[in-house]
Structures are given as structure tokens and as C-alpha cells.
């Protein structure tokens, strides 16, 4: 079966090749180079599908690792360039190539007439290559390289319209914020590799690190310090609070870029890395708790922020932040498979939403939903694909988003069942956030598609090249969810796909929760909306001390919770419809609330209460506060840090460098000159003074001699 896997490197190489070719000859070609990119990505895509298939049907599989000694690093250590193909890699390969391929096709029309058309495609190729390089990395150093390169591409593409000051700032902000996180990543990687000294010549090798961690060869310090630092990198890269601030600004880039980089792939690199190193993460309860809490905060407040946005891309950006929060939180509560599963599905439907948004923006030449409205009639395909995407994002049952998000919640529930407080946190907050998600997506959808058109340009449906990808992604937004559902077989399914020799069914966490000691498997059985571990078998196998197994097995239906989700969904939908169903409210919704409340007196008092005491505070106050905290506080801090640094810089330069240090040198020189000025006076020109000094000196010396003994 390895036959195909051996060629995984081709998947990586092709985009690079296309980037090079496009830069070289792109301009001369009729398609301005786009055809090269599309062709290359197409082949990569097919290959990736093949690899995914191979790994999936035969899962769980023995990972395939191929590496060459790329360079000695001194001390006998070696930096190897290699590929590591297992389920996780295959998933990512599939996701990245698919979205990238779609974006390539889409951009061909979307970017038409751009002055830097060719450059754009070259960059897409370069980005795809970098992302894949990171994905297939068999060692952390290579991963870091890919990581930094995607950062660069992101910088270059956010600043694609570099004539505008704001775009430049956005690009710099993105690069520097993530670069700050990279401090953590790099030092973390260094710390981990330092733990491997003496164990191996390839201290960056991921598999070896994982095995060492599982075998307890790594000291707790190494693990905790290393992983926390690496997690800092993830926080910045994957838009976790408080370092998410760059992501909304990153929307300054062209929409396809937002879809590819800032929704589907690059921002998920952090989660991918955590998953890659999950065996290490799993060694430390502290690390996992930190991850979980950061994730929870992000998923909730990130979602709230989306409520008050008018810019469609900003709405999607904040929702991306929130969804990334889910993934991170899942990692934090042991939902290894759940997290990647959500990453996988989210990649498709968020890319879909962005490309849809792009199609809309293309039509009305504006990002603001207040300029849209009534687009359903004008752009039917965009409409229904967008609806699919929104449903998936909102987690409407039987969409991909539904299954993956509920997996996350289930993971939280199981974790809670095992006695970890972060578990219930993830579960309940995640549930609440799904309400918010539904609300803001519904709001967006209503404002865009319902009511009358508010656009200044007559909207028109986009061409095939743009609609085609939408459709395919829409299909995937539904289908990809079925890799892990209650209907799925024991194997192969998404979870067995991700299983590795280390993370097999027997694998368990080395620590146990508080309540877990007396917990029988039964109680440990999470009863999330879809609870993991339908059959208690893996848990029983997980040992009688209640140790939690890392893989949860196939979920099963739990109708009560399912009902709960549906209620949440529809209530949110209904509320949104109430406010926005008839297009953009002329007056401020709060005033509209006044008229609403009158109706409550007689029949809808229940709604009214719900509205007054839940929605209004949440939507206006809390989110406003969150917005404030995000845009003013954290941004302010970031900006402040920037300014402070500048001042520090100027001060250091002016005072320390120019005066203290240099001054010292000059001081020496001047003092020499000063002495010189004084001393030369001795040369008075009067010979008898000379004689006097001469004699005096002689007498002194004579005395010195005489006194010498």
C-alpha cells in the first residue's frame, strides 16, 4: 500500500514547482500563469486523494517515514528533511490541496484584471508548498521552517494591495503578532530537542519525541516548558485570545486568500502541531488545562464579537476565531480526534463561506452586509451554497459541522466524566457558543439574502469558475461529516484514521481526574449530544483505575441532548429572524425592542423576557464589552507595546549609545586634548625656566635614588 504514500513528497513539490514556473514564465502565458498553478494543484489534489484513500481504508496504519540527512548541525546532530505520512498527514494533505485547488480555480476569475495577477498565483503556490511542507514534516525543525514560510506568505498576501497604508499595517501586524508567538514555538522546539540530546542524533524527529514522551524519557520540565512555549506559538498562529487581534485585520487581503490562509489552512497549523505532538501534550495535565481554558475563552468571546460586525469578512473572521477555539479546547480535553475532525470539516465549510462571501463582494463591490440584501434572487447558486455553509457552521444536524462540533462537546463531556473540571467548562460554554454562532450566522444570512437589495451595483451571479468550487465545497461541507458518525463502522473511520502506533485504542492518559478513581466506566461514559464510546469496551480496556483512553471510539445518539441542540438552534434562528428577517432594521434594534415589548405584554411576554434578559445584554452589552476589550484593550496593549518599544529604542539610541558609550570614548579623547593643552604650557620658551625645571627634576631624582635603599 505504501506505493502511493512513497510519493507524498510529490504533493509537496508540485506547488513549489508551479510557484517557480509561474515566476519564471507566468507572464508570457495566455492565462498569466494561473493555468500552471491550477494544473499543479490538480495533480497534487488527485495524489492527495489517493493517499487519503490508502491511509483511510487500511487504517489504522503503520506511519511511513522517509528522510534524508539534509545537513549536519554540529555535535553529531543532524537536520533531516523528510516526510511522515500517517492518517493525520493524509487528512491535512487532503484538506490543504482541496481548498487550495478550489481557491486556485476560483481566483482565476475572481482576480481577473488584477495588476499583480501572476504574482498572486505564484504566492498561492508558494503558500501551498509551505503549508504542505509543515504538514508532512517528520521533524519539528522542518515544521518550524514551514510554519515561518506560511507566515511570510500570509504577510505578502495580506499586503497584496500594498499601496494602501491600512493594508501595510495589517500585514505587519499579522507578521509581527505571529512572529511573537514564534518566539514561543522556536524556544519550545529547542527545549524539546534539548530533552532529546543523548537519546538520538536527530533531536527534532517527531516520532522519536512522541515515543520518548510516552516512555517517560522526557523530564516534566522539558514537557511542560516545551509544550507551553509551543502552545504560545499556536495561540498567535491559530488566532487564540489574546493574540487573535491580527486575524480580523488580515481580511485586508484578497478574499480567496482569506479563504485559503485565514480560514482553512494556515490558522489551523497550531492545532495541527498540537495534534502532532499530542502524545507529548497528553503527558501533562497542566498543559492540557491551559490549552483547554484558552480554547474556551476564545471560542466564546470570539463568537460574541461576530455579533456586531457589519463587514461580512469580519463576521467570518471572528467566527473562525471562535471555531479555532473549539479545536484548541478539544485538544485540551483530550479530544484528539474530535479536534482534527472539526478542523477538517471547518476547513471545508469556512472556505465555502469565504468564497461565497467573495462572490457576493464581487457582485456588490462592498464588504458590508448593510450594502447587500435580497441577493438570494440575484445569486441563486451563491445563495444555496452559502446557506449550506452557514448551516454547517451553525452545527445544524446532519451537516459536517454538526458531527464534528458535537464530537468536541462529547470529548468535553467525557473529560468531565473523568473528573476534570475543564471538561464541563468546554461542554457548557461550547453549547452556549453554538447558540451565538447560530445567531450571528442567521443574522448575516438574513441581512444578505432576505429583504430588498441595498446595493448600488445591480448584483449578478458569478461565473462558473467561481460557482463551481462553491458547489464542490458545499457537497464536502455535508459529506465530510460522515467520516465519524454514529452510523460509522468501528473501522475504518475518522478516528482509526488518526490512530498511530502510539495513539492506539489502548493508549490512555498517564494521569487521572479527581472524581475518576471511584468512577466506574459507566459514569465515565460521556453523554454528550453524541457521546463517545458507545461500547464501554475501550474504556474498560483503559484500565480499572479510571484512566481515560485517548481515543473515544464511535459515538452514539443521545436524543435528549440532541433535542437541546435543536432548541438552541431554532431559538437563535427565530430571534435572528425576528430582528433581521425583514432586512436591515431602519432604526436601532433596541428601539425596535420597545415596540416588541408591547407585544410581549400580551402574548409574547416569555419571548420578551428572554429577549430583554438574554439577547439584549448578550448582543449589545457583553459583545460590545468584548469588542471593546478586543479592539481597544488588547489592541491598545499591542499598539502600546509597539509604541513603548519605539520610545525605548529611541531612548536607548540617543542616550545610551550616542552619549554614554560613545561619550566615554570621546571623554577619553577630550581629556587627552585637555591634558595636552595644559601640559604644553610647561614649554614656556624661557630657557632659564627650562633650566630650573631640569635642575629641580634632577634634585628630585637624586633624592629618589638616595632614598631607594
Amino acid at each position: 500500500m505504501d506505493a502511493l504514500l512513497e510519493y507524498a513528497w510529490v504533493v509537496v513539490a508540485l506547488p513549489l514547482l508551479s510557484a517557480v514556473l509561474i515566476t519564471a514564465v507566468g507572464k508570457q502565458l495566455p492565462g498569466k500563469g494561473s493555468e500552471i498553478g491550477i494544473a499543479a494543484l490538480g495533480i497534487s489534489w488527485l495524489l492527495a486523494i489517493g493517499i487519503a484513500w490508502e491511509t483511510f481504508v487500511n487504517s489504522p496504519i503503520e506511519p511511513l517515514e522517509r528522510a534524508v540527512d539534509w545537513s549536519p548541525l554540529g555535535g553529531g546532530f543532524v537536520f533531516e528533511l523528510g516526510i511522515l505520512v500517517d492518517g493525520l498527514t493524509a487528512v491535512m494533505l487532503l484538506l490543504v490541496t482541496t481548498v487550495s485547488f478550489m481557491v486556485h480555480i476560483y481566483s482565476r476569475e475572481y482576480m481577473k484584471g488584477e495588476p499583480r495577477y501572476t504574482y498572486f498565483f505564484a504566492m498561492l503556490g508558494l503558500f501551498t508548498f509551505s503549508m504542505l511542507l509543515l504538514v508532512v514534516a517528520n521533524n519539528l525543525l522542518q515544521a518550524v521552517i514551514g510554519w515561518e514560510l506560511v507566515g511570510l506568505c500570509s504577510y505578502l498576501l495580506i499586503g497584496f494591495y500594498w499601496e494602501g497604508k491600512s493594508n501595510q499595517d495589517a500585514a505587519n501586524k499579522a507578521f509581527l503578532t505571529t512572529k511573537f508567538g514564534d518566539v514561543g514555538l522556536i524556544v519550545g522546539v529547542i527545549v524539546l530537542s534539548a530533552g532529546m540530546f543523548g537519546l538520538t542524533d536527530t533531536p527534532f524527529n517527531i516520532i522519536e519525541i512522541n515515543e520518548a514522551a510516552f516512555a517517560g524519557q522526557l523530564s516534566t520540565t522539558t514537557i511542560v516548558l516545551g509544550m507551553l512555549l509551543i502552545f504560545l506559538g499556536c495561540i498567535s498562529k491559530s488566532g487564540q485570545m489574546p493574540l487573535h487581534v491580527w486575524l480580523p485585520d488580515a481580511m485586508a487581503g484578497p478574499t480567496p486568500v482569506s479563504a485559503l490562509i485565514h480560514a482553512a489552512t494556515m490558522v489551523t497549523a497550531g492545532i495541527f502541531l498540537l495534534a502532532r505532538l499530542f502524545p507529548v501534550v497528553a503527558q501533562s495535565q497542566a498543559v492540557m488545562a491551559t490549552i483547554a481554558i484558552v480554547g474556551v475563552i476564545t471560542l466564546f468571546f470570539g463568537g460574541l464579537l461576530a455579533l456586531v460586525q457589519d463587514d461580512l469578512k469580519k463576521i467570518l473572521a471572528y467566527s473562525t476565531i471562535s471555531q479555532l477555539g473549539y479545536m484548541v479546547a478539544a485538544i485540551g480535553v483530550g479530544g484528539y480526534a474530535a479536534s482534527i475532525f472539526h478542523l477538517f470539516t471547518h476547513g471545508f465549510f469556512k472556505a465555502l463561506l469565504f468564497l461565497g462571501a467573495g462572490s457576493l463582494i464581487h457582485a456588490v463591490h462592498s464588504n458590508n452586509i448593510s450594502d447587500m440584501g435580497g441577493m438570494a434572487r440575484a445569486m441563486p447558486h451563491t445563495f444555496w451554497t452559502f446557506i449550506v455553509g452557514s448551516l454547517a457552521l451553525a452545527g445544524f444536524p446532519l451537516t459536517a459541522g454538526f458531527f464534528s462540533k458535537e464530537e468536541v462537546l462529547a470529548a468535553g463531556d467525557i473529560w468531565a466524566g473523568a473528573g476534570f473540571f475543564t471538561g464541563s467548562l468546554v461542554f457548557w460554554v461550547g453549547l452556549a457558543a453554538s447558540f451565538v454562532t447560530t445567531f450571528y450566522m442567521a443574522r448575516a444570512v438574513f441581512l444578505i439574502f432576505a429583504g430588498e437589495s441595498r446595493s448600488h451595483h445591480p448584483p449578478h451571479e458569478s461565473g462558473k469558475l467561481m460557482v463551481g468550487p462553491l458547489m464542490l465545497l458545499a457537497v464536502l461541507s455535508i459529506a465530510s461529516g460522515y467520516l465519524l458518525t454514529p452510523m460509522s463502522p468501528e473501522a475504518p473511520n475518522f478516528e482509526t484514521w488518526l490512530a498511530t502506533p502510539i495513539l492506539d485504542e489502548e493508549a490512555t492518559f498517564p494521569f487521572t481526574g479527581d472524581g475518576a478513581t471511584e468512577a466506574s466506566p459507566g459514569t465515565v461514559t460521556g453523554d454528550g449530544v453524541l457521546a463517545g464510546a458507545a461500547s464501554p469496551a475501550p474504556l474498560a480496556a483503559a484500565g480499572e483505575d479510571g484512566a481515560v483512553s485517548i481515543l473515544h471510539g464511535v459515538p452514539y445518539w443521545n436524543l435528549t441532548k440532541l433535542a437541546m441542540v435543536l432548541v438552541l438552534f431554532f431559538s437563535a434562528l427565530f430571534l435572528a429572524w425576528r430582528f433581521y428577517g425583514k432586512g436591515l432594521p431602519e432604526r436601532d434594534p433596541t428601539l425596535q425592542m420597545g415596540g416588541f415589548s408591547r407585544a410581549l405584554v400580551n402574548k409574547y411576554g416569555f419571548d420578551d423576557a428572554g429577549y430583554r434578559y438574554i439577547v439584549v445584554p448578550v448582543r449589545d452589552k457583553l459583545s460590545a464589552a468584548a469588542t471593546y476589550s478586543s479592539n481597544v484593550l488588547i489592541d491598545g496593549v499591542v499598539a502600546g507595546v509597539g509604541r513603548a518599544t519605539k520610545h525605548a529604542a529611541v531612548a536607548t539610541y540617543r542616550v545610551v549609545d550616542q552619549q554614554v558609550i560613545d561619550g566615554g570614548i570621546h571623554g577619553a579623547a577630550f581629556s587627552a586634548a585637555w591634558w595636552s593643552e595644559k601640559l604644553k604650557r610647561i614649554q614656556s620658551g624661557d630657557v632659564q625656566k627650562y633650566a630650573g625645571v631640569l635642575v629641580a627634576g634632577t634634585i628630585l631624582l637624586v633624592l629618589a635614588f638616595a632614598a631607594a635603599r
Binding site: S676, Q683, L694, T698, V702
Partner: protein, 490 residues
Amino acid sequence: MQIDFIAILPEIILTVTALLVLAADLALRGDAKQFVNPLAALGTVGAIVATVTLWGSERVTFGTMYVVDDFAVLFKLLFLGTLLAILGISWRYVAENRFFQGEYYFLLLTSFIGMLLMPSSRDLIMLFIALETVSVPAFVMVGMRKRDLYSSESALKFFLLGVLSAALMLFGMSMVYGFTGTTDLVGIAAAISGETASVPLLLGSVMLVLVGFGFKISAVPFHFWAPDTYSGAPIPVAAMLAVASKAAGFAGLAVVAFIAFEPVADVWGPILGVLAVLTMSVGNLIALQQRDLIRLLAYSSVAQAGYILIPFGLARTGPEAAVVNAAAIEAVVFYLIAYAVMNVGAFGVAIAVERRTGLRSIADYAGLSARSPLLAMGMTVFLLSLGGAPLTVGLWAKFAIIEAIAVDITLFGIVLAAFLVVNSVIAFFYYLKVVRTVWMDEAPAGLPKLQPGFNLSAVVVVLMVGTLVLGVLPGLVTDFSSVISIVAAG
């Protein structure tokens, strides 16, 4: 008593030459007078040949007063070489400035005869005579520009301070004679070893003896004459004073210090060390202020004297001291050779620039590179060498001194080294100032191109080549296993 004429052959040749020069001067008329110069040069070459033949031999004559060993021969060669160079740079200068050429060359040769005597002297009387033979003609030569106020004033200063220090030295010598009952250096050494070595009065008079040489080498506080005299005297004379008579002073100092007063080396060593520090610091610091190139060179040569004094500061007494003292003397000798090469060169260039125009302030050297690339190149090389830049002999000179220090590291040695380092950095300030003016400033309009003339160019070129060649292969002269013979005497 039987006299070894071979041993004193160089002196004899030089004396004869001097007399011939005088006679020739009477015979020749007008412009022809300038041809006494080649005559003198001829005699000098003869003396050199005679001296070379003495290399490696060990001759003693006039009782034990006069010794010719490698130490002496090396110094004699140094003097004669310098004499040749000075003759070279004097020719046109003297000829054009129309002063008594015959007398000038006669006095020059006489003064050098005194120098030749210096390193061979092994007796206080001999030393005194040598010293005066060097000085008295110099007094006259400095005042040779009779109508020039500066010249006569500098002559006066030079003379007064000279005789004063000579008198002080003589007083010291008389006291030493009183204590030891002999004027023979070795005898003195023998006499003052033992408890007499700690009689304050004796030590005091030892110091007085050193004063005379301190004056010759212009060590602080005996240096005051140097700047005024150099800038007043005809430049070739200044060169002679700055190089040859200074070297003679060091030769005498070495002889008297390491032979006669070796037993009390632990007394005069440190004090000369302190003098060294004073000398180089004062010289360099004042040099920073100079606008006049000759005065700058004067102070720089004061500073150089300070460097050369450092090895004396390292001197020790006792049998185990031999190695240190040997290293010290080697350093001194090598430094003097290097110093002669580069300093005569610098003065030569100064002559070429000053000769016609009479310009001597540093500003007047602006754009020299355009007016005469050769001279500019020469000046650069010589000054950088004085500073101790690599690939010039100057570096090795300083190297030799540091090496002498490092032979047996003491705290005092480290202090001296530190002062040497700091001073050589300070020194670069003013050397570079000149170099910058020469190359990087625009020449004032209307200045003619310089034609230094053949002899002077030849001298400059030869010295420049010497500076560089020795800078690459100092081995050509650093190997003096034999010059330390005078230490063995100690």
C-alpha cells in the same frame, strides 16, 4: 702603551675626512663648494667598510678604555648609516641656503666621531670626551643660520641646557670617582657591588651621571631643549639631533648603566621606568597640539625616547638578571635601528617640502599627494611606522619592547606595557592627522610640484623600502645574540 689602530680605524678615517673637507672647502669656490658633500660621503663609506671588517672581533685598546665588540660595531654602523643619510638629505639644503658648507660638514663629521667613540667607551673620561665631542659641534651647527633669530635662539637654549646637564653629569662622575677610586666602568661595577651599593650619596651621584645622557636622549624633564632646538635648527641638524645624537645618548646610557651601575640596576631600573612613562606620555600629549610639523616630530621623538627607555625600566641586578637585561638591550638596539630608519626618512620629507617654500606648518602639507606622490607615500609610510602600523618596522620595534616585557612578566612590566599601548594609540591621533592632511585635503592653489632632487629622493626611497622590508622580514636585523656582550660584562 701599544695602540690597536685597526680598532679605531673608522674614527681615524672619519677624522681624516673631516680635515680633508675643511681643506677642500678652502680650495673650492662658489657653487663648487657643495662638492665637499660627496667627499664626506666617500669618507663615510670608507668608515663603514672599516667598521664592517670589525664585526665579530673583540678588540681592547687604550688600556681598557676602548673596547670594540659587536655591540659597539652595530652602533657605529647605525651612526655611519645615519650620517650617510643625513649627508644625502643635506646636500641641496645646505647648498641652497648658502651657509658655510665646509664648516657645516666638518662639524657634522666631528660630531659623528664623538658618536663613534660612545659605544666603545669603557671609562668615564672616555664617555665624557665622547659626549662633548658629540655636543660641542652640534651647538655650533644649530646656530649655523647666523642671521636667523630662531636659529641663534635655539642654539642658545641647546647650549645652556647642554652645558648645565654636562656639568651635573661631571659632578656626579667626580663623586663616583670619589667613592670607587676609579673611572673604569668595570672597576666601578666591581667597587660598588656590596654594601657600598646602598650608600645614598653614591646612588645620588649615579643619578647625576645619568642626567647627562638623559639630556642627550631628551627624556622628561631634560627634554625642553628638543622642540625649540629642532624647530630653530636647520632641518638636517634637527634630524641629526633627533636620531644620531639621541642614539648616541642611548648607547652611552646603556654602557654606563649596564656595565658600571649594573649592581644598582634595581635602583635605577624602576626610576628610569617611571621616566619612560613620563617621557612618552608628555611627548605624545603635547604633540597632539602641534601645528608645526618639525615641532610635532620633535615631540614625537621625545615620546619615542620614552618607548626606548622602557627596557631600561626592566633592568634587574644579580646573576639571574642576565636574560632580562639581554632582552632589554636587544629591544633598545633594535628600536634604535628602526627609529633611525623611519625618523630620518620623515625629516627628509620635511626638508623636501620646506626647502624652497619654507613652509613647515602641517596645513602646508595639504594635498602633498598631488604635489609629489613619492614624498606623500614616504611620509605616510614613515609616520605609520613611527606609530607602529603593521608591515612597517615600527610595529616590530614596539613588538621587541613588549617582548622584553613579556620575558618575565612583573606588575611593573604590565603597567609599562599598558602605558605603551595607550600611548601608541594616542600617538596615532597626530600621525594620522598628518597623513590625512597629506592625502585627503586639497592642495592650496599655486603651490609648485616638488622636485626633491636625486639624493634626497634616493634617501627617502631607500629608507621607505627599508621600513617596509624590515616590516616584512625584521629577521634581517633582529638577530643580535651577540650585541648583548656588554651584559656579560655586568
